[in-house]
Every structure is written in C-alpha cells, then in structure tokens.
Amino acid sequence: MKKKHYENIIIFLTFIFLFLPIIVLVIYSFNSSKMNIVFEGFTLNWYKELFNNKELLEAFFNTIFIAVISTITSTVIGTLAAIGLHKYDFKGKKLLDKLLYIPIVIPEIVLGISLLSIYTLFKLELGIFTILLSHIAFSIPYVIVSVRSVLNELGTKTEEAAYDLGANNFEAFFYVTLPSIASGVKSGALLAFTLSLDDVVISYFTAGPGSNTLPLKIYSMIKTGVTPDVYALTSLLLLFIFVILLISTLRQLRKLKKVSLS
C-alpha cells in the first residue's frame, strides 16, 4: 500500500509542475495589487478592467477567430485527404506523403520564416489572413495522421458493403466512412485547435506590424510587465474549457450508464 502512495505523489508533483504557472496567474488575477509579489487582497477589478480593454479583447477574438477557422478548414481538407490517400493510388503519392510530414518534424521557426519569405515573394500583405493561412498549413498534417490511424484500423469491408448495396462515393462517405472515423476526425480537430491557440513562433513571423493577436499582444507587453487583466482573460478561457470538458465527461458517463442499464 505504501508503494502506491509514492507513485501517486510522483504523478501529483508532475501535474503541479505542469499547472504551476497557470495556477499562479489564476490566483493573481484576483489580486488587488498590480505588482504580483504579495497577495494583498481579493478583487474582481481586473475582470472589469478586461472588459474595458478594447485592444486586449480584440486580440482575444482575433485569436479565437483564427483558431476556429483554421481548425474547420484543416479538418475538412485533412479528413478528405486522409480518405483519398487511403483509397486511391496515383503518381507522386509517395512524394506527397513524405512532404506531409514536414510541418510535423521541422522546427517551427523554419516553417515560420519560409512562409514569411513566400508571402513576401508573392506580395501578400501580412496580417490576420497570413496568420490564418499559416495555422492551416501546420494543422493539416496532424489531422491527416489522426484520421489515418482510425482508417487503418477500420479496413475496407463496411465501405465495400455500402458499394455492393449501390451507394456511390459520396453516399458511402457520408453514411459509412465518416461516422466510423468520427473519433479520428474529432481528435484531429481538437489537436488543430489546441496547436493554433498555443502557437507563438509561426504567428510571430507571419503577422504584419498591425495585426493584433494574443501572443503578439503579450509579447509586446513583456518588457513593461503584463497587466493582470491578461491573467483574468486566461482564467476565463480556462474556466470555459473546464466547463466544456466537464459537460463532455458527464455526457459520456450518462451514455455508459444507459448502456449498463439496458
């Protein structure tokens, strides 16, 4: 019994390490002092301040906008691509396959500067659009890998059955393939969304001087000190994520209960 304790303590300490800076920011979002040294007293002032800080809110909405649109686009392109690559053979397939791994393995900074260079070459104006394009660029391979892992397990039997019953490619896709790879699509989309929210390096290079997203905004604040309304924003975002996670866990539990009852 004692042995189990020490294993749980190691797990717990590792989680503390992973969450420590976030916990600190959440606590200090309620601190009445602007200097984050001692906790002087409880206040909700920074939350009020947050809703008056138009620039910060704009940065937040831009970040969410980029994350949502890039997730949808890369999930659609990536899912279709994974199925196409699984199903068809064509000239240049091997090369295409190899090139798709590049954004996963190369240092982000190399992808960032090469995208910056090509945008400059084509005289694309740097801004929200180029950030969005770049986020789509690094997300698609992750979606493909994630969908492909489910496709490989699936085999082709059910789809063949659909064809035998007279379905065309589109019907087979919407009624048979898509429902059975839903878990891969979902985890691919979640991954794309997470990577987009977390990204600093690629946004840094592909954003123009005027574009305003959360990491860029924070980068510009670092020298003078990040104000606690940024912590408030982070806390609200975390709360939002927790609620979503909680709802999805509860729904899963309910499903399990139903299954065990019936």
């Binding site: 294993e7 992973l18 590049i102 190399v110 589109f170 896709f173 924070i218 670092i222």
Partner: protein, 284 residues
C-alpha cells in the same frame, strides 16, 4: 462512375495544392535564397554564392550552435527523467483514469505558451513569488537568480516541451505486456534492472520519438531564450529570428535554416532506422 471521379478530385486536389504552395514552394524558395547574396539595404542580389554556408563556420556562430545543442540535449534528458516514472505509474492505472490524466497533460496547451512562460517569470524573478517566500522563511538573505541564465532557459524548455515527451512515451509504455515485467521480477531482477533491461528496450521507439519532439523545437524556441534568458544567451532560433527581422540578412538566415533542416532530417532518418513510424511522431 462520374460521381466517383469527382470524389477522388475533391479529396486529393485541395491537399495537393496545399502541399505545393505552403510546404514545397516555401522550402524550395528558402533553399534558393540561401545561395544568394544579401545587399546592404536588406534586399537580395541574384548573385550565387556559398558564402552564407561558409559564414556559419565563424567562431561566433559555431558557439551559438554548440550552446543551442547543449541546452536542447540537457532539456531532452531532463524531460526523459521526469516523463519515464510519470508514464510508468500512470500506465498501471485503470483505463478511464489513464485517459483522464492524459487529457490533463494536454490541458495547459489551451492557454498560450507565452502566457505560461510569463507565469514562470512571476514565480522566478528576483522579486518573484519563490524568492519572496525563501526570504520570508529566512532560507536565503539575498534573492537567488533563477532566471536570465541557463537555468531559466532549460526550465522553460523542459516545462513547455514535457508533454511532447510524455505523450509518445506513454503510448509506448502502455503497450508493454505487463506479464513480461512480472516475469522479470519473478526471475529475480530488481526494479532498476527491470527498467533498463526490459522497459527501456521495449519502449525505445517511443523514447526516440519523444526525444525528437523535444530536441528539435527547443533549438528554435527563441521566445523562451528571450523571456527567461533575458536575451543574453543566443540560441539558433534567436539567430534565425535576428537575421530575418533585425539584421535583415535573409540569405544567411535561410542558410542557417537549411542547415537546421538537414540536421532534423538526419535525426528523423535515424528514428526510422530503429523502427520508428512517421505516423507515430508526436504520439497524439
């Protein structure tokens, strides 16, 4: 039948356009750029040269490469030391607990990594939480320098990249047949012997995979060196950033990037050689 052709195009044309325009073309352009000449106004002259590659062998830049690789190596090693016990202990839990804990590992990523790095500044700086606490309990009189040095940078790298070690290592440790470990104990092996002789050899692809996912990004994460290193220490990432945004010597920056790319490909080839699959990279 027409219908089926349409589906083929619909699924493969978008991804082909994407690969050509946003992967192949940018990299080819950078490759060409690395053989061109910079002019003094930040522009590019179409004058082929190898100078950009020769310049990398300047002592100043070699030092940056050396320091950067050293920091990446140390960070990777520390990540391995933290991740191994963590994933081994988690793999012993029941299925539902396992998946919940693994979701928790990814959770910090939903807040931007720059914000989390700033959280460390609040903790570590001379007037920060840890130093104030240490002084209040009289463990130290003067504040300790936790950041603006190598310690700060390595801590930042380990913190930011740890999940990328945990995920592939977990999926590989979780696949080990538990009876093999029991057999090792039954045959009289100690815990440490079992770890090095049974667990490590069986999880070597996961280990290499995680090491790649920590080592490669940590060369390029200039913002951690900027924030927690105080801009004193230059990593390859900072060097590339400066060439593109400050010094505006794009051809030289491109040459450094291509060099980094070659090193990356070499490491990936090595990973494939020991039996690693490209699809498993990252372990998501």
């Amino acid at each position: 039948m027409k219908n089926n052709k349409l589906f083929k195009y619909l699924s493969l044309v978008p991804v082909s356009i994407y690969v050509i325009l946003l992967i192949a073309l940018p990299l080819i352009y950078i490759f060409i750029l690395s053989f061109l000449t910079n002019d003094y106004y930040g522009g590019i002259k179409i004058f082929p040269t190898l100078m950009n590659y020769i310049n990398i062998f300047d002592m100043v830049y070699l030092k940056v490469f050396f320091k950067s690789f050293l920091i990446a190596l140390v960070s990777t090693f520390i990540c391995i030391c933290i991740a191994y016990p963590f994933v081994i202990f988690i793999s012993k839990k029941e299925a539902r607990v396992k998946s919940t804990l693994m979701t928790l590992v990814m959770l910090p990523f939903l807040t931007n990594s720059l914000i989390r790095t700033y959280g460390w500044i609040v903790l570590l700086r001379r007037t920060g939480i840890i130093n104030t606490f240490l002084q209040n309990i009289h463990l130290t009189e003067n504040p300790i320098s936790f950041m603006y040095n190598n310690f700060g940078i390595i801590l930042g790298m380990v913190y930011t990249l740890l999940p990328f070690m945990i995920l592939p290592l977990f999926s590989s440790v979780d696949k080990i047949n538990k009876s093999v470990i029991e057999a090792s104990y039954d045959l009289g092996a100690s815990k440490i012997q079992t770890f090095f002789k049974v667990i490590v050899p069986q999880t070597k692809t996961g280990l290499f995979n995680g090491s790649l996912m920590v080592f490669i990004p940590s060369i390029g994460y200039f913002f951690i060196a900027d924030l927690l290193g105080g801009g004193k220490l230059m990593l390859i990432g900072n060097l590339i950033k400066n060439q593109f945004l400050t010094a505006r010597n794009w051809p030289f920056g491109a040459a450094i990037s291509i060099t980094l790319l070659l090193i990356t490909f070499l490491l990936v080839k090595l990973y494939q050689k020991i039996g690693g699959k490209l699809d498993d990279l990252g372990g998501f």
